[in-house]
């Protein structure tokens, strides 16, 4: 039971990661694919933050009388990752808008059909 509780975070992370991967592989709609990528990304954030968490540790802000802090390094890495992530999402969505303009659809199958019929 202890083993289950101490690894529960990682298993949920893997579940979320696989949900995101499944969306990217299986769903044909481009907006849905980008949502899937974002779910995948959030799962990676959780992997890092879970590794940095310390039981009974305080948030990493120096306060008098506090001895045990959480690991600040994963927080720094993920802070950067979130901001870069939103930049890539914006770029992906801009590409989706552009694809809609030239193909008239954002469904992957229809785009493939048009490419083959050219």
């Amino acid at each position: 039971m202890d083993f289950f509780i101490s690894h529960y975070n990682y298993w949920i992370v893997i579940f979320l990661m696989m949900v995101g991967l499944y969306t990217v592989i299986n769903r044909g709609n481009l907006i849905k694919k980008i949502i899937g990528l974002n779910i995948f990304q959030v799962s990676v954030f959780f992997l890092y933050i879970s590794m940095g968490a310390v039981k009974d540790g305080a948030a990493p802000i120096i306060t008098e009388g506090v001895k045990l802090y959480s690991n600040p390094l994963p927080h720094v890495l993920i802070l950067t990752a979130i901001v870069v992530g939103v930049a890539t999402t914006a770029l992906g969505l801009a590409l989706v808008v552009r694809i809609k303009e030239s193909y008239g659809t954002i469904e992957e199958d229809e785009i493939h059909e048009m490419d083959h019929s050219l």
Partner: protein, 196 residues
């Protein structure tokens, strides 16, 4: 103890929301659920003591990402996803399940959640915790590392965001010069009228 219970319940909510996102065929509903997903993750970051990450996730993940996706939805006028039967769910499901099982096998060696003696918490993190305040004068260790120790990395991050911004402007900024025969003829007609 109460932290752990909140943690477990919120993670379960997160998993349920993720499944709801991929099951819904209405894209607007998916995007709104994704906003809820981001908000839940921000709450979880607070539970795991990552306050700065929680702020950023709430502002950027739940705020800006959702707005960007809604804008795309408006621009593409595509509110329902078409589920084609050409995609075989079983094949991708099999790939995903096998990958997931390999990853679960990989977690068996990871030190448990919240273990203060985990290797990740032993080495350079201790240096920052002990020396960040005397060396930089910033009580928030995350800010100290981000802006002082790793200031050039943050500068690089700004360059990445700038590049993404320029790319988005280049993709969407100009008028489309070649009217495409595939798109709606009504739109092309209107575009020609605008140009003349």
């Amino acid at each position: 103890m109460i932290d752990l219970i909140i943690n477990i319940i919120l993670l379960a909510f997160l998993a349920i929301t993720a499944v709801a996102i991929i099951r819904s065929t209405n894209l607007f509903a998916s995007i709104m659920l994704f906003g809820i997903f981001s908000l839940l993750s921000a709450t979880l970051f607070v539970v795991m003591d990552a306050l700065d990450v929680a702020f950023t996730e709430a502002a950027v993940g739940a705020g800006i990402s959702t707005i960007l996706m809604l804008t795309t939805l408006v621009l593409t006028k595509n509110h329902n996803e078409k589920r084609s039967h050409a995609h075989r769910p079983w094949l991708s499901l099999a790939v995903v399940i096998i990958t997931g099982m390999v990853l679960v096998y990989g977690t068996l060696d990871i030190p448990g959640f919240g273990d203060p003696a985990a290797p990740a918490n032993m080495h350079v993190a201790q240096y920052y915790i002990n020396n960040a305040l005397p060396e930089t004068g910033v009580p928030n260790i995350v800010t100290a590392v981000l802006a002082s120790y790793r200031g050039f990395d943050t500068l690089g991050e700004v360059a990445v965001i700038f590049t993404a911004g320029v790319a988005v402007l280049l993709l969407l900024g100009g008028k489309p010069s070649i009217p495409n025969s595939n798109s709606n003829p009504g739109i092309n007609k209107k575009r020609e009228e605008d140009e003349t």
